[in-house]
């Protein structure tokens, strides 16, 4: 891309020339900034000269001095958490700032800079420290859920430290990544899933939520295009806390509480189970005889044979005795999967500094048990953020943090060993086998071949409690994330900032599977593995910022620069088996070292970017930006993409014709259009590759592993956004509205190809996808009096996703979810279930075939193959929303936060086993299966129970449920101890609170929890599937914060 290089060279030279030619004479001013609330001095407030980069911060007593150019006219005073004000330059300035919750003058972090909210032309959602702090969740995204309009956060299950899905204004891609770009203090961080099993883990959970000052979510193209290549899914900017000059502060925080499943399901008890499977035997016999499947002589013979079979199995699952006949044993296997789950978090932070140097240091310890047995997580965090004014024109600083996370994991949802699959076991099976006094399944003294080894056919499936007792899977992550920066004030108007960041993640996974897990792992003498992953991500940003104000009419703020990111990944793993005894668990003791692996990959991005903001007469806003991005992920002719954006804003309330409209305090209209890109595909995807994993019989071999595509290029999303921001009644009511359309073209699509080619798919730029939607946010101050304050925040996001063009293909055939033209991504496609045939008890489906006349045939059929697949549901919500009400009365604060998702469906993938009218094995059944068809004339949705003659268990709308929900996401009652009391014991701030998370859920979903997506199968397309997935956590904690 030679022309591009020249262009950037020119840009640099131009900027430097401009910089060097600007000169000015100075004068000195001073002043004091206070908090409007109580008149106390405000330390760390920023005073900057409008139209320049000249700024300083107030010291502990709120005072400042500043050299300003002789021609300086206006000062801008701002402070985090406070509104921004502008004043004319005078020698001595005294000013108070008022605190700003979502107010227009709030400072908002944008890519490579900050803006005040009033001047924003893009769409940026901000979630502040107050909403995030002390949320009893493992990762900060959990605290973001429901907080910002158009930002969908979904946790697939209730296991700890697992992957979390975040969608900003819908999914923009079918095959490439749909997760936003995460940037911490200017540096994109590692988000790779490094899980050794098919359940993704979440590297973002290494961050300490209490270190976060604010999270800004860049939603539209004009705000995200500065991250061009990486911005198509939105950008999440995380800014950590910094110290302020002034009194050194110590803050201690602590909370502790318990967690439990949000819901439980109901399964058959012993008596119901025994009776149900006898009924299923009769059903099976009748069916077999009717269709002559086994050639029985009479119906009675068929029934008797099936009943005898069932009795023998019931006896087997009843530990080989007759207790099942009296229902003596009644095990609730669901309860066995859950545990008491305490959670505690301890925080300590110190901050402070002087005019030259400020610091923030913090440490945290999180000790959390999961609700699923064996699942727990411990995390240690530390952070030091430093800023130092080296000279009056050079500032340097560093952000350093480390984390150590220990996650004691359980298997993925699709494993017999995952604890919640214990619900498949029979209630007549005791937890302890009376024959051995050991766990059921642990030992079979009479086992052929291996006497004393684990049972091979008792209980009905592998008992997951054996893994709880005899296996572990531990993940340890050591993470260090840091960056250093230097910022030089080259002239009054031009500054240069360079940032260099390093994110290093080392993960070790260790698994051990003792001999008692043999039935699950086929290791008769135990086995184990270790995996070690190293990820190194380094990034540098270098950019100039030029700010000027011409004749107090024209404000220009321009940024131009470059960034480079490279990520190197290395991993190695070992497996071994056969240990001398269960006392030995490290691979070094294993008799057979069975496998060793190592692999590596890399990617890099090189980018040149620029942005210019222009403001005319403080009310006409224009922003243009552009970014050239090169990525190693494309072939040599397609590496580069260009991503421009432009936006305009009009502060219409400042116009004379609206000056008489008293109730309208503020109104801004804005519009933006731009391109963003997506390259979140695997590395080397464009190449046709061979891989050396084709060994056979101990002899190495190679094979084709990937059908490449040298024409592969960037996926593009063109976004259009129009919006308005209103402030009414002196901004007591503020309203933001946005309408957007996002069109993705050249989809990076894993296209299914005929299997006869020897490949099943190829990555191509094929197809189009569209999101359009509407969002609003309302903030109101309902009652503001001296003692009582009531505020409300409501956010609402509606998104319509449609895969518009796949050139006739359909992805995901064979799964519940599909990418199908004309439908939202991940739409559920299956046969439409019509219940049980009232005459025969057969499962029936609507044919839904389209005849020659174009009419749909709605007659039911009991032949599954005869029914056509149709769209049966949609995993994407119609809309999502959040509503927060805060009441403060003197020292008390009551905060209730509701969060909801409306109109999405969930497919219960476990239904084919647990809600199968006993036709698909001896799995214990959900109680709703008691309604199974029994005799002609019965009208029911549950087909006849017929053991091993699957009756309606194939994918169909039988297992699809509306999963809309409304949750009391968070409820907090806080008491701030009065100063008069605590000052006596030399405490500055003290508060106690009790907080409930996921307290209460309203839903029609029949499964454990409507917020679900089975971890082992989750992809862009595969959404909203439940499969023995652990429910979410309902948490109640008591907490305390003390500040000195």
């Amino acid at each position: 891309m030679a022309p591009m290089k020249k262009l950037t060279g020119l840009m640099w030279s131009f900027l430097l020339l401009t910089a060097l030619t600007v000169q000015a004479q100075n004068r000195q001013i001073s002043g004091k900034i206070t908090d409007q609330k109580d008149g106390t001095p405000l330390a760390g407030a920023t005073i900057s000269v409008k139209g320049t980069n000249i700024s300083t911060a107030t010291s502990a007593d709120g005072t400042f001095t500043l050299n300003v150019p002789a021609d300086a006219k206006t000062l801008i005073i701002s402070s985090v958490g406070f509104g921004q004000k502008e004043v004319s330059v005078s020698d001595n300035i005294s000013l108070s700032l008022s605190s700003a919750d979502n107010s227009l003058s709030e400072v908002v972090v944008v890519g490579f800079g900050t803006k005040i909210k009033r001047d924003l032309t893009g769409s940026v959602a901000k979630v502040g420290q107050k909403e995030l702090a002390n949320t009893p969740v493992t990762s900060f995204e959990g605290a973001l859920q429901g907080r910002a309009a158009g930002v969908q956060v979904e946790q697939g299950n209730g296991k700890l430290g697992q992957g979390i899905k975040v969608r900003i204004r819908g999914a923009s891609s079918v095959t490439a990544g749909n997760e936003p770009l995460y940037v911490v203090d200017g540096i994109p961080v590692i988000t790779n899933n490094l899980s050794g099993n098919s359940a993704a883990t979440n590297p973002l959970s290494d961050l300490n939520t209490n270190d976060i000052e604010s999270i800004e979510i860049l939603k539209d193209a004009s705000s995200a295009a500065i991250y061009g290549a990486r911005g198509a899914n939105g950008v999440v900017l995380i800014t950590t806390k910094r110290g302020k000059a002034g009194k050194s502060k110590v803050d201690f925080g602590f909370f502790t509480g318990t967690q439990e499943p949000t819901r439980k399901r109901e399964f058959l008890n012993s008596q119901q189970y025994v009776e149900y499977f006898r009924q299923a035997a009769v059903g099976a016999g009748k069916y077999d005889y009717k269709y002559g499947i086994s050639g029985y002589g009479s119906e009675q013979e068929a029934i008797d044979d099936n009943l005898a079979f069932v009795e023998s199995r019931l006896r087997r699952y009843s530990a080989g005795n007759d207790d099942y006949q009296t229902y003596k044993v009644n095990t609730d296997w669901q309860e066995e999967a859950f545990q008491r789950a305490p959670i505690s978090e301890y925080d300590l932070s110190l901050s402070g500094g002087n005019e030259k140097t400020t610091f923030y240091m913090a440490g945290q310890f999180l000790d959390q048990k999961g609700i699923i047995v064996r699942n727990s997580l411990k995390r240690y965090n530390g952070r030091l953020n430093l800023d130092h004014k080296f000279t009056n024109w050079l500032t340097v600083g560093a952000n350093l943090s480390f984390a150590r996370t220990l996650n004691y994991r359980v298997s993925d949802d699709n494993a017999f060993s995952t604890p919640l699959q214990s619900v498949a076991l029979s209630p007549i099976t005791p937890t302890i086998d009376p024959r051995t006094g050991l766990l059921s399944g642990e030992s079979d003294p009479n086992r052929a071949g291996n006497p004393g080894g684990p049972n091979t056919n008792y209980p009905v499936y592998y008992n997951p409690m054996l893994s709880v007792k005899g296996a572990y899977y531990n993940t340890i992550v050591n993470r260090s994330l840091g960056n250093v920066y230097g910022q030089a004030q080259i002239t009054n108007k031009l500054s240069f900032r360079t940032e260099f960041g390093l994110d290093q993640l080392n993960q070790t996974e260790e698994g051990y599977y003792g001999p008692i897990t043999e039935r699950n792992t086929t290791y008769p003498r135990g086995g184990g593995f270790t995996n070690a992953d190293q990820v190194l991500n380094f990034n540098t940003n270098n950019f100039f910022r030029y700010v000027t104000n011409i004749k107090d009419k024209h404000d220009i703020d321009a940024v131009v620069g470059m960034s480079f990111q490279e990520q190197d990944y290395f991993s190695q793993g070992n497996t071994a088996e056969a240990f001398p005894s269960p006392a030995y668990k490290k691979l070094t003791s294993a008799g057979t070292k069975s496998d060793a692996t190592s692999t590596a990959n890399e990617f890099s991005f090189l980018s040149y970017f620029g942005r210019a903001n222009y403001k005319l007469m403080d009310k006409y806003l224009l922003a243009v930006s552009g970014r050239f991005d090169g990525s190693s992920r494309f072939g040599k002719d397609n590496k580069w993409g260009f991503f421009p954006a432009a936006s305009v804003g009009w502060i219409i309330s400042d116009e004379n014709f609206l000056s008489n409209v008293k109730w309208l305090s503020f109104m801004k209209l804005k519009a933006s259009y731009g391109l963003t890109g997506n390259a979140e595909i695997g590395n080397y995807s464009w190449q046709t590759l061979w891989t050396g994993d084709g060994a056979y019989g101990g002899i190495p071999g190679q094979r084709p592993s990937q059908l490449g595509n040298p024409n592969l290029k960037w996926e593009n999303t063109a976004s259009f956004d129009i919006g308005a921001e209103l402030g009414i009644f002196e901004n007591r009511v503020s309203l933001e509205l946005d309408y957007y359309v996002r069109n993705t073209t050249d989809l990076l699509l894993q296209v299914e190809v005929p299997g006869t080619s020897g490949f099943t798919s190829q990555l191509q730029n094929l197809g189009k996808l569209k999101n359009k939607g509407f969002e609003f946010t309302i903030n109101t101050q309902n009652i503001v009096s001296r003692d009582f304050r009531w505020t409300t925040n409501i956010n609402f996001g509606l998104n319509r996703n449609e895969v518009t063009d796949l050139q006739g293909q359909e992805l995901g055939v064979g799964n519940y979810n599909r990418a199908r033209e004309g439908q939202p991504l991940g739409v559920f496609v299956a046969r439409e279930f019509a219940g049980a045939d009232p005459e025969t008890g057969d499962a029936i489906w609507y044919k839904n075939t389209v005849g020659a006349d174009g009419k749909v045939d709605r007659t039911p059929t009991n032949n599954y193959n005869e029914a056509a697949e149709v769209v049966i549901g949609n995993p994407n919500p119609d809309f999502i929303y959040g509503m927060r009400n805060t009441f403060t009365f003197r020292g008390f604060e009551f905060d209730i936060f509701l969060q909801g998702v409306q109109g999405n469906d969930v497919y219960d993938g476990g239904g084919q086993y647990m809600s199968a009218s006993g036709s698909n094995g001896f799995d214990n059944q959900t109680t709703d299966q008691l309604a199974a068809w029994k005799q002609p004339g019965d009208k029911t949705r549950v087909p006849e129970a017929r053991l091993f003659f699957a009756n309606g268990t194939d994918p169909s709308s039988r297992y699809l449920y509306d999963a809309s929900y409304l949750r009391v996401k968070q409820l907090t009652l806080t008491y701030n101890l009065p100063k008069s009391v605590i000052s006596k014991i030399k405490i500055d701030r003290a508060r106690v609170y009790v907080r409930g998370q996921n307290l209460f859920t309203i839903t029609n979903y029949k499964g454990w929890d409507p917020e679900v997506n089975a971890d082992y199968q989750a992809t862009n397309i595969n959404q909203g599937v439940d499969f023995y997935s652990a429910p979410q956590l309902r948490t109640i904690v008591f907490g305390l914060n003390i500040g000195l």
Binding site: R703, E752, Q912, T953
Partner: protein
């Protein structure tokens, strides 16, 4: 002052230049793979690709065993009970197979993956040194023929069902896929065309391969598979001749006892067991490579999903030594033939060759091909099982077929024998469309040229 502005600006300028040079850092090559144009440059590259073809052949859904397990499940008529949770196999066992059955889909795609690797080897055969050229080509043809044979038997009408020259078989893909243009939307060749290709490949392979014990396909492997193919066609003269060549090759011999043909080492399950003397061809399995799905489904050491019904054993004579490999555990009867978790997958055993030669010669009458009378071949099998010999005069075709069934029990021949012999499967006639797998729904959707099988 140490830091002055002009120095900083100079530094900034040099940084700018430095990072513009980053552009070449955008060229990244994989570490764990190689580009296709670098994969097949030398003789040893192509030989490694051949090994890769075996590894694909050994996929669970192909010769790792599933293709044969389907035959046992589909052909079953009240001799076994399936109680597993893999719904795809339950559907096959119930002979009610939806077109989106995952096993049906995976076997199809994995089979063609193996075929593509074999095609790559054959396409690059000029790279192979002359001394190895025949061996490499022969083995690749053997692999390709083996996969096509089991594909056409499972996904198309039987040879003897109507006219094989017009019945659709499976698509014949004989060139490697280099890019998507080649991955064209192929059509199904006829059953006869597929069989003709199999016989061509195997005949050439037999000529190119040499004899001698190996874990790879050798000359007797090709002869033996050819015998199986001819028998399926009812071409008894060619079947007997090919079986005779496999026997007379002399590389293999029957094991001393029946149980020894299915070695199990319960105490050292992780130690790989070599082929027995009787294995004419077996897929190699050890604790890191290969899989034995006979073990997975038949053995309690695996999932133990398939149990043997007691009534099945009434077919055996009382002192039949082959009964030793069956045992009761927890109230169910299992076969112990596949108890070795990392046991090799027995594809072709020498015993089958004696049975093919016997059956073919018996049907043909006259001078036996290979010069061994049918009763002598049968008695050789019976003697190893500890059973009394049958006089030539008393020998019937039914006896031969029963001997074949019991000797090769649960090894994957059941369905294909029933079709060949036109024996009903319970209420279904031997040529019922329900005993033919559907073309996977996925394939029909991505390739409009594929015609679905009757009844789906």
């Amino acid at each position: 002052m140490l830091f002055n502005k002009s120095r900083i600006i100079g530094g900034v300028l040099s940084l700018t230049v430095a990072f513009t040079a980053c552009e070449k850092r955008l060229d990244k090559s994989p570490f764990a793979s190689v580009d296709a144009d670098q994969a097949l440059l030398t003789s040893s590259d192509v030989e490694s690709a051949l090994v890769g073809a075996y590894s694909r052949l050994g996929d669970a859904e192909v010769y790792g065993g599933d293709m044969f397990v389907y035959s046992e499940l589909l052909g079953n008529d009240n001799e076994i009970t399936w109680s597993g949770t893999f719904q795809g196999l339950t559907q096959i066992y119930n002979k009610q197979i939806p077109v989106n059955n995952d096993f049906v889909q995976d076997t199809w795609t994995e089979s063609y993956e193996a075929i593509n690797v074999a095609n790559n080897v054959l396409n690059a055969i000029d790279k192979v040194v002359d001394a190895k050229k025949d061996k490499v080509a022969g083995e690749a043809k053997f692999i390709r023929a083996a996969v096509y044979f089991d594909l056409v038997r499972l996904y198309a009408k039987a040879w003897n069902d109507g006219n094989p020259s017009s019945n659709p078989g499976v698509p014949l893909v004989l060139k490697p896929t280099a890019d998507l243009a080649d991955a064209a939307k192929v059509s199904r060749n006829t059953v006869a065309e597929v069989y003709a290709q199999i016989i061509t490949d195997l005949t050439e392979a037999e000529g190119q391969l040499s004899t001698g014990k190996t874990i790879f396909a050798n000359r007797p492997s090709a002869s033996a598979l050819l015998a199986r193919v001819y028998l399926q066609q009812g071409d008894y003269a060619n079947a007997a001749a090919a079986a005779d060549r496999a026997i007379k090759d002399g590389t293999n011999s029957l094991t001393g006892t029946y149980a020894e043909a299915f070695p199990v080492n319960y105490n050292a399950a992780t130690v790989p067991v070599a082929n027995t003397t009787e294995d004419v061809f077996a897929m190699q399995v050890n604790n890191t490579q290969g899989v034995n799905d006979f073990n997975t489904y038949f053995s309690p050491m695996g999932r133990g999903d398939i149990t043997i019904d007691p009534s099945y054993f009434s077919q055996y004579e009382e002192n039949d030594g082959r009964l030793e490999v069956y045992y009761a555990d927890g109230g169910s009867i299992y076969t112990g033939k596949f108890d070795m978790v990392y046991g090799n997958v027995h594809i072709l055993r020498l015993a089958e060759m004696f049975l093919i030669r016997a059956e073919s010669n018996f049907r043909l009458g006259g001078d036996p091909i290979g010069g061994v009378a049918p009763h002598l071949d049968i008695n050789r099998i019976r003697a190893r099982a500890g059973l009394d010999p049958i006089d030539a005069a008393d020998l019937t075709l039914d006896q031969i077929l029963l001997e074949r069934k019991l000797e090769l029990a649960f090894e994957g021949n059941l369905l294909h024998d029933k079709k060949r012999l036109e024996i009903a499967v319970g209420p279904l006639s031997w040529n019922s469309s329900r005993l033919v797998l559907p073309i996977p729904e996925r394939e029909i959707k991505v390739n409009g040229n594929l015609v679905q099988n009757e009844g789906y």
